[in-house]
């Protein structure tokens, strides 16, 4: 494989131009160096990124045939059989509905809070910035599964230190009425600092002369934030939203932990939980089809979101 690697590295520019001239070819220098630097990456990229995706798509178009009660499995081409199963699966679409609702419960408040925190940290009036920056970000260092376990303890009336808050039959944190908010709280706690850092670094990148100009025009801190800072960090906000969309569709750790604590979260609550349950059967073909469908849904939603916000983001 390593002997074949140089050919792809040198072939690329040729493909890019289409009509290759001898003069143009001479531009590619240090072919060996390029090969040595790119080779390891490409090897790993193909082996552990492209090949699995390709394999998953291939698997999703197969189905298993058997004879009798314990017949040997025979994999045959199944066309869109698995996709038809996914499209007609109420469990799958319910799980998409769950994460979409969760997105609206969780993400707007999270990003608004992250923006406010970032603006506060960026304001010259606040003391102890380094301390606060670190404390807001610290929860992100806690693995989400641990965070979910700890919050799960706090939510359960039998073991929680907050008995009066958690023991309500209708509005306890683990009831069907409140479960979206309880789960959003865990995600909020983990990611608000992370999103704050993204926005904060965008604030730091704003050229100082803009603030000097604003100051000379007599703009207040609030006015500066509203008219200069926020518009200039919109691209970061959009990026953070994109991450949140993808992260929400792939939600797994938090509902998996909460599923062991309350009937309001089932073992097939989110799309990725269904993929796990399906591979456990084991039905790899269907699991592959669900994964591909989830990727397509993610693509569609992300694309739609970018189309709606493109002008603001990249104008």
């Amino acid at each position: 494989m390593s002997t074949a690697t140089p050919s792809i590295a040198t072939a690329k520019p040729g493909r890019a131009t289409g009509t290759v001239t001898a003069a143009r070819r001479r531009v590619v220098q240090h072919k060996k160096a390029i090969a040595i630097f790119l080779g390891p990456f490409l090897l790993v990229f193909v082996l552990f990124y492209l090949a699995p995706i390709f394999f998953a798509v291939l698997q999703s178009f197969m189905k298993v045939q058997r004879v009798g009660a314990f017949g040997a499995p025979e994999q045959v081409f199944g066309g869109f059989t698995q996709y038809s199963t996914v499209l007609h699966s109420s469990v799958f679409w319910t799980s998409i509905e769950h994460v979409v609702i969760f997105f609206f419960v969780s993400v707007p408040i999270q990003l608004i809070t992250a923006l406010l925190l970032a603006l506060l940290l960026d304001s010259p009036l606040v003391k102890g910035k380094r301390f606060f920056r670190l404390s807001y970000f610290a929860p992100y260092a806690v693995p989400t599964i641990i965070a979910a376990l700890i919050w799960g303890y706090l939510y359960q009336p039998q073991v929680s230190p907050f008995q009066s808050l958690t023991s309500s039959q209708a509005f306890g944190p683990l009831t069907a009425n409140m479960i979206y908010f309880s789960m959003a709280n865990i995600v909020f706690w983990t990611y608000v600092g992370y999103n704050m850092v993204i926005i904060y670094s965008a604030l730091k990148a704003i050229p100082q002369d803009l603030f000097e100009a604003a100051k000379m025009d007599g703009a207040s801190q609030f006015r500066t934030a509203w008219s200069i800072k926020i518009p200039l960090v919109v691209p970061s906000l959009i990026m953070a939203t994109m991450f949140s969309i993808i992260g929400t569709l792939q939600l797994f750790n938090e509902p998996t932990v909460l599923a062991t604590l309350t009937p309001a979260v089932t073992a097939t609550w989110s799309p990725n939980m269904i993929v796990l349950a399906t591979t456990n059967i084991p039905n790899y073909n269907l699991a592959a089809a669900i994964s591909v469908m989830l990727a397509l849904v993610s693509c569609a939603i992300s694309f739609l979101f970018l189309r709606l916000t493109q002008k603001r983001a990249f104008a």
């Binding site: 072939a11 690329k12 009798g68 009660a69 025979e74 994999q75 073991v159 009937p263 097939t268 059967i281």
Partner: protein
């Protein structure tokens, strides 16, 4: 030129992607599990190295003892290497499935009974019924364990039973005595005691909906048989009269508020079991150690009674869990694997370790007489002091389990993990207030039939074969 390069890479990618598929084909070509009646053995004078996967506490101790004192004296000599893994549902079952596809399973693996049919279906296990010594030992194991180890083939054995999981009734001795409520011996008495327990401020039981193995065990006790494998396919019958009787019984108890909503093994569940909110726990032997470790505060308050009966005077039960050691298809010398497993599951040494370290109730029936540890009360290390505690007082709980029989006619389904998961989901809906347990059974049956058909298997009607 450049385009040809691209094609070459695509072709290379395709070849890579196809690799695992051809591995699949290799498995397919192997002798279908169950049909082979031979038992390959290593030549005399050689040494056989066996690899083994397990999550039983004390397994390493047993393997070490075997390698030094037993395996060396055998001919051919046997040496076992143990790989300790997380519990089956914590990832090991999925790893097994992947290993079967890749053809690199160990020689021996631990598998719980309900999951075994899935590995037979994946052509992953070997029939060791004809291996030397197995036929002789067969009748000494609990019939339900032997039946489960055949995974639908009454003459086959894909593994040697390790432990069995007959359901019993753990109950709060102190509370039943304090309020002068008789410990129920029948389900009628259980239902009659429920309101009295409620009046005393407790719940007679918890409805552990997340892992419904106990409820399946109760259907088993009542005479249900959810799955039957035939030559033409699978019969699925989760809504027979016995299952519906159990379903309606528990629906009534739950809707009357006598049974509390609990998720199995959650901190809240353990807390309620320790605090006296729950007065009974319907569970198998393996629960004894879990209960002692997770609710240490109630040491001495718990006792064990036989599972309540539908007809007074009977001694029927059903099983929840229990496990086999299976011999994987990749094992070159099943005769030696069987020889080792027979030692592991019948020798006094090994069974003593399994019982004292892991609280196991073995499938090997003579153990209650031959293993001294099982003649005494269960002792566990106290969570606070580390000193041994007799959790159930001086009661010898093993005798209670020995007194009950689980029918060998129950058969686990080919996609049992899916059945359990979907049943748990349906029961979660029930416990949240919608429908009945019978509805949950109907829903689960529908999903199970779809999952079985998705495996390329036929689902047939009863009596049509």
């Amino acid at each position: 030129m450049s385009r040809r390069h691209t094609m070459k890479w695509l072709a290379a990618g395709a070849a890579l992607a196809v690799l695992p598929l051809s591995a699949c084909a290799g498995v397919k070509a192997a002798d279908p599990a169950g049909s082979g009646s031979t038992c390959p053995s290593a030549p005399a004078g050689s040494t056989v190295n066996l690899s083994m996967t397990s999550w039983t506490p004390g397994a390493q101790q047993n393997v070490d003892y075997f390698n030094i004192h037993v395996g060396n004296t055998m001919n051919p000599r046997i040496h076992v290497t143990l790989n300790v893994v997380p519990g089956g549902n914590a990832g090991t079952y999925q790893a097994y499935s992947n290993q079967i596809i890749a053809g690199n399973t160990a020689d021996i693996g631990m598998v719980e009974y309900p999951i075994l049919p899935s590995y037979r279906l994946q052509q992953g296990v070997t029939n060791i019924a004809s291996c030397p010594g197995v036929a002789e030992a067969r009748s000494e194991f609990t019939p339900a364990g032997i039946s489960a180890s055949g995974a639908g083939d009454p003459s086959a054995l894909f593994g040697i039973p390790q432990d069995v999981g007959p359901l019993g009734l753990y109950y709060r001795k102190d509370l039943f005595a304090k309020y002068h409520i008789p410990v129920p011996a029948t389900w009628d008495q259980f239902a009659a005691a429920a309101p009295k327990v409620k009046a005393a401020g407790g719940h007679i039981a918890g409805f552990q909906y997340g892992q419904p193995g106990w409820l399946e065990g109760l259907a088993w006790q009542a005479g249900a048989r959810w799955f039957t494998s035939t030559d033409r396919g699978w019969i699925v019958n989760m809504t027979d009269a016995a299952s519906l009787k159990v379903a309606s019984y528990w629906t009534t108890l739950v809707r009357n508020g006598y049974v509390a909503q609990e998720d199995t093994f959650s901190p809240a569940d353990w807390s309620d079991l320790g605090s006296g909110k729950l007065w009974t726990l319907i569970a198998p032997p393996w629960m004894s150690v879990l209960l002692a470790t997770n609710s240490p505060g109630s040491a001495g308050d718990w006792a064990l009674a036989p599972l309540p009966q539908w007809t007074a005077g009977q001694a029927k039960t059903g099983m929840w869990g229990g496990s086999d050691y299976v011999v994987w298809s990749t094992c070159k010398y099943p005769a030696q694997a069987a020889q080792f497993l027979l030692w592991l599951e019948t020798s006094q040494n090994a069974l003593t370790v399994n019982n004292t370290v892991g609280g196991q109730f073995p499938g090997y029936m003579p153990a209650v007489r031959t293993v001294p540890a099982m003649a005494g009360p269960l002792t566990v290390a106290s969570a606070t002091t580390g000193k041994p505690v007799k959790y159930f007082g001086d009661q010898v709980i093993w005798n209670v389990f020995t007194g009950m029989q689980a029918s060998p006619s129950w058969q686990a389904g080919p996609t049992q993990s899916q059945t359990d998961a979907d049943f748990g989901t349906a029961l979660a809906a029930f416990i949240s207030g919608s429908g009945t347990i019978a509805d949950a059974l109907h829903a689960t049956q529908g999903k199970t039939i779809a999952a079985i058909q998705a495996q390329g298997l036929a689902v047939v009607q009863e009596g049509s074969h």
